[in-house]
Symmetry: C2
Subunit: 276 residues, 2 copies
């Protein structure tokens, strides 16, 4: 059985496990235009936490800041549990790469909170939009020569698909789509962290204009435990993303992912640089 | 002229300015039930960045993680510009307090992104709700014996005010209110960071039940520059907050703050622990 490309991208060797030092490498399978897909960067930052021997519980919150462009090749990760309480644990995470002179430079920073969760009252005030089932929605066809990471996701856009005419005609910033890993893969926290970043930049939809962009920071809240993720298996998720405020070079986009059964699995926000 | 209580709460001495080491102290004026109001903690973490001699630009994103309860008294802040690019700068921030044996313990972690912004195309896809003007909305009256920080804000709730009967009758989680510092104070980034945390926990509204809670992590995106904040002056902001997903001990709440003129100044999300 071959390893799933996401598991290859998430593979970490530990140079000093107790100290939280790991090494990994960027994956050609998830290459974007000038660097790796930011979703896999977020996922592998979280993976360092998940692989740490002192881990308490499961992820509740993850923030990843994209401080510099990642080069193709190896990177180092440092995940430190800076504070461990009875049921929560606070993490700092840094990714670094050697520069031309071989000196390590920080390329991403992050924080995470993990926690032991227990059964409580619950409710959702963000119900899943009514949409046709995945089987009735056509899969987005990626033409040859497009970026690699798009082939790593099965996307079935219901509305707000990427513009085919860049004519400045945009008037909203909401996309709804079914999506999952391609090939299909059982859902886990790292995969979910990456899926939260699968929406193309809202400014492209809003303006129907492909301006240069780059995510600066992403924050994801996880609303499920491992058992609930296991129930989703390799099923489709419904994703919704919308822009909020676009002004002076930055915009924020909010995203939600539901299971096909209607459970809100994760809510995510990011702030994105754009030019012009 | 006396110093505004927020400026007292934000006052920092620098033990080693170039290294980004500051000292401050919790403020009785902003005391909450068992610790300081989390909004001022976020604000003073940001303040360390703003006072750093190497600061580039103005805040775009701020994440603060509440790792442990803060005790009344002094604290140390460490703000480090880990990566400075042409127009963006990435920060890590830590707050620590001495434990009973005098050893420094991390109580909060954070990251921030600051940036030089320039004029671009802009739009808002989150327009200000239609509400009556602040003058027509009654100010929330805080009874004696309530927590101190509530007196530091002038809150004029339009809808979703804090329940007066805790009878389990809640059916939504949205609050809309006009608010500003009390006494009124010209808006700046630190004040805005604190204002984003002014909404009482959504789970109390949703359930009409005052269960124990604690914010675990807050992320705020700033959509304005200093000149735009100066235009707001000491005017009212319209705040809106809503819960999203409540499950197994945690819920997330999304908040937005508009100027009275209708400009979306900040969007903020937090994840909150709750009991039962």
């Amino acid at each position: 059985m071959s390893t799933h490309p996401l598991d290859q991208a998430l593979a970490l060797a530990h140079s000093d496990l107790r100290a939280g030092l790991f090494t990994g490498a960027t994956s050609a399978d998830y290459w974007n235009m000038v660097g790796p897909f930011g979703g896999t960067t977020a996922a592998v930052m979280l993976q360092a936490v998940l692989k740490h021997p002192d881990l308490l519980g499961a992820p509740v919150a993850l923030t990843v800041n994209y401080a510099a462009a990642l080069e193709a090749g190896p990177f180092e990760l440092l995940a430190v549990p800076v504070r461990t309480n009875r049921s929560t644990q606070h993490w700092t995470i840094q990714m670094s790469q050697a520069d031309a002179e071989g000196r390590p430079q920080v390329v991403s920073t992050g924080t995470a909170v993990t926690a032991l969760r227990r059964d409580t009252w619950g409710a959702s005030d963000l119900s899943m939009p009514e949409v046709p089932p995945p089987i009735e929605v056509e899969r987005l066809s990626i033409g040859p020569g497009k970026v690699a990471w798009l082939d790593r996701y099965e996307m079935r856009p219901i509305s707000g698909t990427i513009p085919t005419r860049w004519d400045g005609s945009g008037d909203h910033s909401e996309t709804r789509m079914w999506l999952r890993d391609a090939p299909a893969r059982p859902l886990d926290f790292a995969a979910l962290a990456a899926l939260c970043d699968c929406f193309y930049p809202r400014v492209w939809l809003r303006r129907a204009k492909p301006v240069p962009i780059g995510t600066v920071s992403i924050t994801t809240y996880f609303h499920v435990d491992a058992a609930q993720l296991a129930e989703v298996g390799d099923g489709y998720l419904l994703g919704r993303a919308t822009g909020q405020q676009f002004r002076n070079g930055y915009f924020d986009q909010a995203a939600q992912l539901w299971s096909e059964a209607g459970a809100l699995l994760a809510t995510s926000n990011q702030i994105v640089y754009f030019k012009e």
